[in-house]
Amino acid sequence: MDWFLILKSLLVLGGLGLTFAVILLIAYLKLTVKVDEREAQIRSVLPGANCGACGYPGCDGYAAAIVAGKAPLNACSVGGPAVAEKIGQIMGEEVTASQPQVAVLICRGGKEQAPNRFEYRGAEDCRQAALLLGGPKACIYGCVGLGHCVKVCPVNAIKMGENRLPVIDEKTCIGCGKCVKECPKGTLRLISRSKLVYLACVSRDRGKAVKDVCSVGCIACGLCVKVCPVGALKMENNLPVMDFSKCIDCGICVHKCPTKSFIDRAPGRPKASINPRCNGCGECIKVCQFKAIEGEPGKQHRVIPEKCIGCGQCVLVCPVKAIDLVGALGHSMKTV
């Protein structure tokens, strides 16, 4: 037993360990960066998804920007009003929450509706395919369907559907907008979660040119503009542009569109129902665009449930408040 060797090893290794520990301790005391404790507090209330929707490099970047006074307090669309309020409390300021958003696909042209014009063999990526003559799809504006959005979604909220169109899980989607930026065709868009009706087409062609390549593409007929009760639609570049501040999500355009190019996100729609207060004036029959109300003048009118789409226009015009919208619990509409 070479005790001297053991002693030497102990001393050297122990000495080295001690030396390193001391050096590191000194470094820790001298070199640690002073961090504003509010930054750490804000960081801890942020969701931590690091999606960049706020416009800053990750949650760390956003917290730092807030403390530096450079960032708005409600920029986190993922955390929504709850997080904005907490940030407001930490910073000691009032906050107005930003609207939570969700990503939607503005194209209905899948495998069956919008066929390909050539067989594409190459990298399975929309951005690469789009470089080749605008992509394999006959409609050069529409969704390519190779799933680039699926790959870039930070929370895996998008899956490729059977119909060669991506399907977005609205519960999982955090509204960060990454897919919107990455889509080469611009067929993904962020809308407010409370918005129910939107046009699902980006084709800037009209009429036959659209019909030849897609059975559900907007042919720019302008019917929706005419039937909208609040004038929220306006034709621009062969596409109806929706003024979201005017639109009441009534759903009339959805049903009147000949190519079914609109999408209604509502999980269910109520139906109109006429109660005994009805005086038979017939105003409701005049305003209903779907001939869903029948009745003799002066007698109790009645709604035909199969034809009623729940747009609520009749409710607005009834002078005696005899019409209610019933059913579809949990679905909100701006009219009522």
Binding site: K8, S9, V12, L13, F20, L31, V33, A123, K151
Partner: protein, 196 residues
């Protein structure tokens, strides 16, 4: 090896005996970090930094402390201690004084502590009986070889992301086979010096 001139040491470490593709040292970060070019570049920078410093400190400690005192058997423990302490220190130093470098490669620093490549270089410096200058060049060449391999491979892997590959081969298997092909290419460099 200790008779070789600096240029030969560098080229041997850089190409012929590329640390990842020929020696198989440093594979875990190679497959973990090489999924994107940005992370690969950051990792390479961190490796270069730490490898040089570790090579120097470990060489000095070995020749001035362990050898004279007859404690060569402590080298495993001492080298790994040095690397662990060094990485901690470098992280703190960068965070305080060179902020933008820290934000570029700071997150890779803790990963480097268990990087076989750093420890491998410290041991090889001893085995090849290098003096301090040769050890420096060897560390530099190795770090550059690491960078070359990982960046090349990242470029390939980014392409592999979108390629149509059968499900069983997706991910690691096709990455390994890709590495096999790159390694095969690097084997061509053996003809440069005829050493193995």
């Amino acid at each position: 090896m200790s008779q070789m001139n600096p240029a030969k040491i560098f080229l041997a470490a850089f190409l012929v005996n590329n640390i990842i593709l020929m020696r198989f040292i440093g594979l875990c970060p190679f497959f973990g970090v090489s999924t994107s070019l940005n992370t690969s570049a950051g990792m390479s920078a961190a490796v270069l930094f730490v490898m040089l410093l570790a090579a120097w400190v470990s060489w000095i400690l070995y020749h001035t402390l362990l050898v004279p005192l007859g404690l060569i058997f402590l080298r495993t423990a001492v080298f790994i201690l040095v690397i662990a302490a060094l990485v901690q220190f470098v992280e703190m130093f960068l965070k305080r004084y060179i902020r933008n470098l820290y934000s570029a490669m700071g997150i890779y620093l803790p990963l480097i502590t268990t990087n076989c490549a750093i420890l491998g270089v410290t041991f090889l410096n001893i085995d090849y009986r290098f003096n301090i200058l040769q050890a420096t060049i060897f560390a530099l060449g190795t770090a550059c070889g690491f960078a070359l391999a990982i960046i090349l491979f990242a470029a390939i892997r980014e392409r592999l992301e979108d390629a149509p590959i059968s499900p069983a081969f997706k991910g690691y298997p096709i990455a390994f086979i890709g590495a096999a092909l790159v390694s095969l290419a690097f084997m061509g460099f053996i003809a440069l010096f005829g050493i193995s």
